[in-house]
Amino acid sequence: MSAEPDGPEDRLRRLTTIWSRAVFPVTSTSLTRAEFAEQLLPLARRLSHLLRARSFDSEEAKAVGAALVDAHCTDPEALTRTLDCVDAYLVLYCGEDGPQDELRMRSSRLQHAMAAGYAQALRERTLAEQEAIAQAALQAQGVVAQALHASEARFRAVFEGAAIGIGIADLEGNVLQVNEALLRMFGGSEHTVRGRNVMEWTHPEDAPQTWKLYDELVRGEREHYHVEKAFNRPDGTVLWTNLTVSLLRDADGEPQYQLALMEDTTERRLLNLRLRYEATHDALTGLPNRTLFFERLEKALGAGEGQRFGLCYLDLDGFKTINDSLGHAAGDRLLVEVADRLQSCATAPGEMVARLGGDEFVALTTGPGTEREVDELAERILNALITPISIDGRDLLVRGSLGIVEGPAGERTAAEVLRSADITMYRAKSAGGNRSELADPEADARAITRHGLTTALPTALERGEFFIEYQPLVHLGDGSVRGAEALVRWLHPQHGVLGPDRFIPLAEHTGLIVPLGRWVLEESIRQAREWRERYGEQTTAGPLRINVNLSPCQLSHPGLVQDTVEILERAGVAPDALCLEVTESALIGADDDLLKPLRRLAEMGVDIALDDFGTGYSNLANLRRLPVSILKLDRSFTQGMQQFPADPVDLKIVEGIVTLAHSLDLAVTVEGVETGAQAEQLRILGCDTAQGWYYARPGPPERLHELALVDATG
């Protein structure tokens, strides 16, 4: 639209500019003032028309007022400024040349109508917006309420459906809400739980800290705690729980409620108790078992000063025979009866009976007076066994061997005490059984050393801890060295050099004697060959011979002959350089099977010597049967010849034996020759060879060389 200067359009624009300048500062529009003026321009045009129209259209005037509200002139100040502007400038700019009075009147009516239209529009807009925001608030609340409801429903489902008990109480301990699971744990009815106070639920088995933790929690000093707790159910039974209590705080962090989560552990606890019972009791007799016994013994040994303990270790005599002959069922019934009788022996406080296994039982007494009590206990036990036990209509006489250990607490471990009792019991058993023995530290030490040596034997052989000493065998007629007896020694890392009496019986017992014996044989034969190679032809009496001891166990070992032959062949030593010494006792009552290997060895040329002759019940008649070529007289015969004059009885005996031996074509060797007089005496009596300290103590193989050389050159 063109706006010729000072034409109607230009005047309209000038009015609009004045209007917009007046109103713009009080509007909240985001338009620029120029844009805002563009919005006002059509309104100004409408006002211009209304001013000059023939009849006054009040509705149109009201509409212009309402349009102001639509242009976001919601501040009533905008209306005031608009009316001021209309009043002052509308007639001036838009009245053209009309009658001034009429125009003024029309402007005035127009302003009234505009004000009415503005007010109505503003009211409607305000109401609409109020309505809208209220609706929005309601809507939003509805959404939140719905979310809350869903969340509450979810939590309720969790709460009610949970398998663990859940309860909520206030900080005074009043129970506000509990779930089904918790009610079930307490036995079902709601009034037994709801409305009650947490603090009523004390129980004699509450741990000392339980209620301290509770107090800390309700005071807000602790966020949660976890305890094992018992509750009394209305029916009198006990409910055991794993209880976790947490403090619930409000949004501002203030403590509000306490939340208890509990898990019923009653069954598990019972099961644990039963498992514990089963783990600590013997299924057959119902007596405490080894585990429980050790616990008690350890407790007794850990008791304070002045406390003592007494222990009786019982092993039934000959139980194996009963088991083997009457069967295990009968054996079991016997054990049950023995257990019952033993139990009645140890009924005082501090006393207990346990079954360690098999037919081994222990009775324990504790307290300050066990020195006296343990003897009484042992007596009661042996007395309890006197009456025969009736099994399957048979009266079985049951006897036992009892080892007693008594002492102050705090000195020994349970294992040490039990070992001592075991050793002592075996002493009672070796002494014939049906008796008790009191533990003795020395006997224990011996047994313990024995045990230690036994277990150390196999590795000792592997580690080469054994060595051999040689004791010369001297011909009594000319004093020449004829050979030597190989004597095995053990260089023990702790105990030093041990003689064969300390370990050969152990090796016999464990069977290690076979490899050990083989090693001794190999080593001795090797030594014999060395002697032969170096000096063999220099001695007057031919090659040096080697005497090796053969234990009873080796004697019955099936590989004896083959092993011996192989060793001799490998070393290239003739069988006649070897003499195997066998004790007389090993051959007593020997049958042909046992003698066969000896016989074969003898046939090959190996000499067999009967060692320690004269100590057993020598069956002289038997001598003929044995493949023996040498008798070695026991040293007890030569001992009587050490003094001067010699015991005439001994002289007679030796003379008789020598005569007998020679008549059987057996040579005689004497041991334990310690003086020249002795040697001379034995020579006169006709003995062939001798060994003893008079000639040389057992020593390293080099010693023998020297002796032999002296002998050879001298």
């Binding site: 338009l31 976001h72 807009r125 917006e129 925001i133 609706q135 939003a140 509000q256």
Partner: protein, 270 residues
């Protein structure tokens, strides 16, 4: 039994709301007496507060038009509040028909009202979410429906960051949003500051106290601190300036002195 402590809190319209106070300043009636009371209290300290809001709206209008002029047709307005007049979608759709707008606010009443007002507008979505959890905004199905994050977006953070305390890591949130935006996206931002207010700082602090009282603290930041929100953006001319100075369409001299409070700026992602 009382309401358990874990239950969500309900809407309490007896507590003033920032968005309804904002509406009041803009001459609207989408507010309750508690809101008006708080607004009037703040205006006792700073009578020109409505002019600041108006200047914000005017800047937003210019910035949205600028964005549309740059060819951007996707708008994400976080902290949109209560729609009154001259809303982003009106301005954007006028400048670029078919422009898509997602409004985000954490005030459930503002969201409910927006949803009522915008019902039927296929190109607009309203999300109830919080600027402090950008992933909730970025992964919302409404955003996914309207906005293609592979193309440039105009992100509006108008008069909102000054309601996020440092403890809630506003810089982290802004950075997270930036990382989700395609190159060529714009950040349109205004922020309150003591700088530029035509009053002594002590007076302005009275306003800060009012917001503190309604548990919606107003965090005044320095220009330097505000500039840091544009890390990773290239500033569009004329940079971070008082609102009337940003690409004015009328003479800044004509503006109310209060309009110069705080800063506005637009940045572009590289």
């Amino acid at each position: 039994m009382e309401r358990p402590a874990w239950a969500p809190r309900s809407i309490d319209i007896s507590v003033p709301s920032v968005s309804r106070i904002y509406d009041f300043y803009l001459g609207g009636s989408h507010n309750f007496e508690v809101d008006r009371e708080a607004a009037r209290k703040a205006m006792e300290f700073m009578p020109g507060l409505p002019k600041i809001m108006q200047a914000n709206r005017a800047f937003m209008r210019r910035a949205v038009r600028f964005a549309a002029g740059e060819g951007i047709t996707q708008f994400l307005d976080i902290g949109s509040g209560i729609p009154t007049f001259g809303n982003v979608h009106e301005v954007a759709q006028a400048a670029a028909p078919g422009a898509r707008v997602v409004y985000v606010d954490h005030d459930p009443v503002a969201v409910a009202h927006s949803q009522a007002v915008l019902e039927g507008n296929e190109d607009v979505e309203v999300i109830a979410a919080d600027l402090r959890k950008p992933q909730e905004i970025l992964s919302s199905p409404q955003l996914e429906r309207l906005i293609d994050l592979n193309r440039p977006v105009a992100l509006l953070l108008v008069a909102i960051l000054h309601f996020v305390e440092d403890a809630d890591d506003p810089y982290g949130a802004v950075a997270e949003l930036r990382e989700a935006l395609a190159p060529g996206s714009l950040l349109i931002l205004t922020h309150a500051s003591y700088e530029g207010i035509p009053l002594p700082a002590e007076r302005a602090e009275g306003v800060v106290d009012v917001y503190k009282d309604i548990r919606n603290p107003l965090i005044m930041r320095s220009r330097e601190a505000i500039a840091r929100f544009f890390e990773g953006y290239d500033m569009v001319e004329p940079g971070l300036v008082p609102m009337p100075h940003w690409r004015p369409e009328s003479a800044p001299e004509d503006e109310d002195p209060y309009a110069f409070s705080g800063f506005a700026g637009v940045g572009r992602t590289a």
